[in-house]
Amino acid sequence: MSYQMSQNRTMSHNPYQNSEMAMGKDQQTLMWQQNSYLSGGDSGIHSGAITQVPSLSGKEEDEITGGDDTLMFDLDQGFNQNYTQDQVDDMNQQLNQTRSQRVRAAMFPETLEEGIEIPSTQFDPQQPTAVQRLAEPSQMLKHAVVNLINYQDDADLATRAIPELIKLLNDEDQVVVSQAAMMVHQLSKKEASRHAIMNSPQMVAALVRALSTSNDLETTKGAVGTLHNLSHHRQGLLAIFKSGGIPALVKLLSSPVESVLFYAITTLHNLLLHQDGSKMAVRLAGGLQKMVALLQRNNVKFLAIVTDCLQILAYGNQESKLIILASTGPIELVRIMRSYDYEKLLWTTSRVLKVLSVCSSNKPAIVEAGGMQALAMHLGNPSQRLVQNCLWTLRNLSDAATKVDGLENLLQGLVHVLASSDVNVVTCAAGILSNLTCNNQRNKVTVCQVGGVEALVRTIINAGDREEITEPAICALRHLTSRHPESDAAQNLVRQNYGLPVIVKLLHPPSRWPLVKAVIGLIRNLAICPSNSSPLREHGAIHHLVRLLIRAFQDTQRQRSSVATSGSQQPGAYADGVRMEEIVEGTVGALHILSKDEYNRQLIRQQNVIPVFVQLLFYNDIENIQRVAAGVLCELAVDKEVAELIEQEGATAPLTELLNSANEGVATYAAAVLFKMSEDKSLDYKKRFSSELTTLPVFRDDQIWNNGDLTIGPDLQDILAPDQAYEGLYGQAQNGTNGRSYPQGYDTLPIDSMQGLEIGGGQQQQNLMGGMNTGPPTSPNMMDMECVIGEMDASELTFQHHMGNDSMMPSPPANDNTQVAAWYDTDL
């Protein structure tokens, strides 16, 4: 600074501080006189010392904290020196004059001449003078005014310059154009001129034209850099969009020059985020293919922007998803998930995969590219949003991945994640496990080996009545407890982990039918293990099963009688999307297995449910029901009195009919029951009977007859009817039609059981294990956007809306072109 500062800080000790403060003005003047002139030292600009503004205080700390040598006051000097009035007047005048200097020094220190010493008027170091107090605010005011003046200059400059620059940009000479572009780029860096550029449609048009037609690198850089700066403002985005900037920018995506490429993609990203109509324009300009090609680069921040663009373009647009597929998008995206660590990139890529994973054409491609394994790598990531997106994607893909090898890591990761405290995470993980264990022995064994059974039981216990969790978990356990080498171990593990009481409890309200159906199937499997028979009985399983059977039976009877009278073909009795016939079959099947235990048999008998079983023998349209009914009767008929009871109910006639059934299981059980019923009969009834029986094909195997005891083992069901085993997950194409075949062995399509559950906002879709719809995405407020480059401020788009195309069901190739259909021609 150019003014003198006193070396001596005087105000640190002021002996006059406490007394004589209420001095008159003249006396104050006297004091100051002493200060300024008697000590010989100049107080300098105290204001600067007191305020911390560096512009005012040349020397800082030393001044303030003291350490001065010379006293301003000479204590020996009398205070009461007398001055004449003239002298006092003189001094006042001096003060007045120096006042303006003081003010000027406070506000415009840079204007002070060197060497000027301005007397200070501060006499109390604790009390700054008015000027001192105003010094800092006045500095700020000064700066603000200066900025305004500059801004106005900028704006003026730009407004005058712009028409000129437009002309130059349109010039024939490439050098001229290039220079003009660079200049415009410079201008666009400052706010005022940037606004001027944005507000001139001809300027933006000229820039776009320059971009499209020029081959010169500097021109391109200047133009695209300008557009990039403009894209941080709503008006700029609109101007670019209106001038046809998007096709020009898309063209630049092929540029080999990195800076051009980065400017172009960021500008496009801003447009896609905040400018309506941009998505369609980018698609039309062929932006999708180019962006997918760019996925091969290896700059992580760049890739994050590209993937976010792809996600915005593909969301809800089937055609875009197909284009991405045709450009080998899935392969590149899975590669990214496998190769990088940068969280933002992983997150944006997982979102693209999520969006693609509901498209039935993309799904197999993603699975084939190793998508399941790649996504599994991130299940342990601390970033919750990444984990959640991976889980959603995995769930969507899981029905297409049941034949995939090498999923051990995934299964292990899922079992670990079941312990999460986040409901969504647990729900997804349970659903995925359920799908992947369906009819897949290898996966079942793996899950058992990594502690899946225990984890699932714990999950069910912790879930209480939250059906969105319990249903898939129960289904998963159901798969794990049957048809693989570790089934027995699993059945025991459920009991050992205190699962039985909770599971049985799920049979009564408020559980809805889909969950109840799943639990019934699980209980049937658990009952296979002999050690489970008693606990199941003790927890009331039989009582619940009978109750459910009777309820369902009555519904089906009502249904059937109404069909009989009206003659029309009615659909079956449904509740929550579950047919009551399925409940009948399930409960009877479970009772069948349970009735291998003697005490269970007694209990079942006491429930007076045998007549129901006999009635079920008449359900000729549903072989499965006949089979399980005959099966349970077969078990119960071991006791003589029961056998008689069965006969008294009139079972002989239907059973005899069933001997001729095409279904081997039905015939076998029917024969067995009849055999047991006939044991007390006269000898020649028996002989006649058994000769009839031996004509049946299934009984040509002497083994069965020779041991005389026709208790048919639990596997008979599987042995005799292997053809009914499920082909994959789908059952029939549509849910709930009459054509639906029943699950064999209760190792079934998991998805159906989720039907009717409302997850996330009441969307009644069939794809609850697959897609979840929580409403359309919300776009951020577009007013006065001041976006940071590269910031991923796309709002959190949750699940994408499932456009009625059920991801879980492979509907037959439709003519609506939403799938990879078979080939056909069109005549034009």
Binding site: N215, E218, G286, Q289, N817, T818, T826, L828
Partner: protein, 121 residues
Amino acid sequence: MQQNKQSLFPAFQCLSIPITLQKEVAIDHDGQEVAKCGFKIGGGIDQDFTKSPQGYSDYGIYVTDVTPDSAADRAGLRMHDKILQCNGYDMTLCTHKKAVQIIKKTNVLNLLVTRKGVTHM
């Protein structure tokens, strides 16, 4: 500055055959105008080209039939031509439905096609 001058898009050859097709406009028995091209197309990104009887090898839009003495025939379109572009719209990565839509839009079609043995081997 001079040494930094580089051209951005190195030129490469892309041969294609331009075909201008004027549709035959007729009035059908309802009094409606009908514009007939005289060819059939198959393909698109939503179709499975592995199932095409003609054995096509990509997702493009192909001419699967040309009616003799039709507008297409006279314009020079041939069976198995692959349509790259129609009236400026890209046909190399579009759905079948979209392609039909674009072709039906106007009565004059400016096509760019490739033909095996002519534009490429």
